[in-house]
């Protein structure tokens, strides 16, 4: 079995199985965890937990004026690479074919050269995020292995994808196999590190919003 067949066959199946196992394990555990009841009465005029949660989700999409200047770079850069990643994953024809083969859903693709341009911007944005993490003293101190490894498994699929479509450095089938293996590393790591925020970001923000609202925090 060649490297490409391995990447498209057993490695992909294992990666998908680990992803599904890990995500469901964490979600089920999170939902069924014993919770401490908040025994304090809710402040007068607070919204319902659901509405407070939804408001917090929307509110957190843009920083508060107090922190706007300080967090603007991280925010905009974060948007750039997140949107870039989404467009690459869901807008590139071969990726749509992959998803269609997996779950049967399909939609129109973006032109390949547009995706290439988005890929280059995304890689640049991810390097900028890493640079800030290293340069900013506070971010550097609070960064762990999880942050750096999550960054690595995120950028590698984009980088190897760009190299594969450009046919740089090796035979195409080898480049494609490496790209697929990098995607599989991403899928395997996703449930166990900070990349799990892909599934939890709105859950945790909503929970925080409900909690803060109960305590009467004005956001």
């Amino acid at each position: 079995m060649g490297l490409l067949d391995f990447a498209r066959g057993p490695a992909l199946q294992i990666a998908l199985a680990v992803l599904v196992f890990g995500v469901i394990w964490r979600l089920v555990l999170l939902l069924l965890l014993p919770r401490l009841k908040d025994l304090t009465p809710a402040r007068r005029g607070t919204r319902s937990a659901f509405m407070a949660g939804m408001r917090e989700i929307v509110h957190r999409l843009w920083p508060d004026k107090t922190y706007a200047r300080r967090t603007m770079f991280s925010l905009i850069n974060g948007y750039i690479f997140h949107i870039g990643l989404a467009l690459i994953v869901f807008g590139y024809a071969p990726h749509i074919l992959f998803i269609e083969d997996l779950i049967g859903l399909s939609w129109p693709a973006l032109p390949s050269n547009v995706i290439n341009a988005i890929g280059v911007i995304t890689v640049g944005s991810l390097f900028a995020a890493l640079g800030r993490r290293i340069i900013n003293p506070v971010q550097r101190i609070i960064s762990t292995f999880d942050d750096y490894f999550s960054w690595l498994v995120t950028i590698l699929p984009v980088l190897t994808g760009l190299i594969a479509v450009s046919h740089l450095g090796a035979r195409y089938e080898t480049l494609l196999a490496i790209h697929i293996l990098c995607v599989e590393a991403f899928l395997i790591w996703l449930p166990f590190g900070k990349l799990m925020h892909a599934f939890l970001v709105f859950v945790t923000r909503g929970q925080t919003g409900a909690h803060l609202s109960h305590r009467g925090v004005q956001t």
């Binding site: 498209r8 089920v28 555990l29 083969d101 089938e173």
Partner: protein, 352 residues
Amino acid sequence: MADHQTLGEVLSSRGISRRVFLKYASYTASLMALPPAASTAIAQGLAKARRQSVIWLSFQECTGCTESITRAHSPSLEDLIFDFISLDYHHTLQSVSGHAAEQARKAAMEENAGNYIVVVDGSVPVKDNGIYSTIAGMTNLQMLEETTSNALAVISVGSCAAFGGIPYANPNPTGAVPISEIVTDKPVINIPGCPPIPEAMTGTISYFLSFGAVPELDHLGRPTAFFGETIHDRCYRRPFYERGMFAKSFDDQGARKGWCLYEVGCKGPVTYNACATLKWNAGVSFPIQSGHGCLGCSEPEFWDRGGFYKPISTGIGDATRLIGGAAVAGAAVGATSAAMMRHRKKKAMQEG
């Protein structure tokens, strides 16, 4: 032809002019992407060469490779047989049969010991002592080992001989193996394809006759002159791929307009062969030009790569059960972990 005569002498006696001969040599040189000076070297090499004894063995195969080589247009099979090689044994093309045929093979081996070329099409079954394919009471394995023992080189034509091909496909009931797994002490040139492009076969044989050496090969033992680039690299539909214009089915507008066949399973991007440049039937067409995606037939295990109509970017095999099992296991482990935590909390509260 008398054995002591060189090819140059034979051709000259047949009235073939030097001009025609040089034309043929330069065609062969350009076919193999050799530098212009090589055409002179080929002409000189061929002129000095003696007629090469070739033994062609057919094992687990469909005769498609022979069908293909009979359609070579330059150098044609007739050119090769009548002018350059002595085809001493070939099931389909030889007139004799039975003991006489086997005698011809043995005589060729004896007379040209150490100097004959063995061409093989078809894979060799080795399971249960190779009983699944026999010729003249010998298993294919026995015949291959006996015939190649004194050969100069071996040329595996077709994907079955080169990589195992269809007999090698899962579940491989006969234990088929490619020739290179059995012949390990001789140069083995692989010319895969199902069938191979005829000029790739005749061109490689001509190169061998001209230079007396194996041409440059890739990591899979294929001549880089014919297998150095992917079909996708030289495909006339490539611009549509770059623009993201794909046929979604074989009868849609995209297919009619000649758009890229990637989405309907074309394996051109990962298939190394000269179909897009040499084409077939004297350069008339090739599968993609005829509207069908490349099957990837010149690559190892092409039969087991997830389906001819599945794009390269999709997975191989059905993971539904594995993923379903993983989902159930994840839910079970998550629920069990949560139950254990609840139990621990309850116990701690009771104790506290």
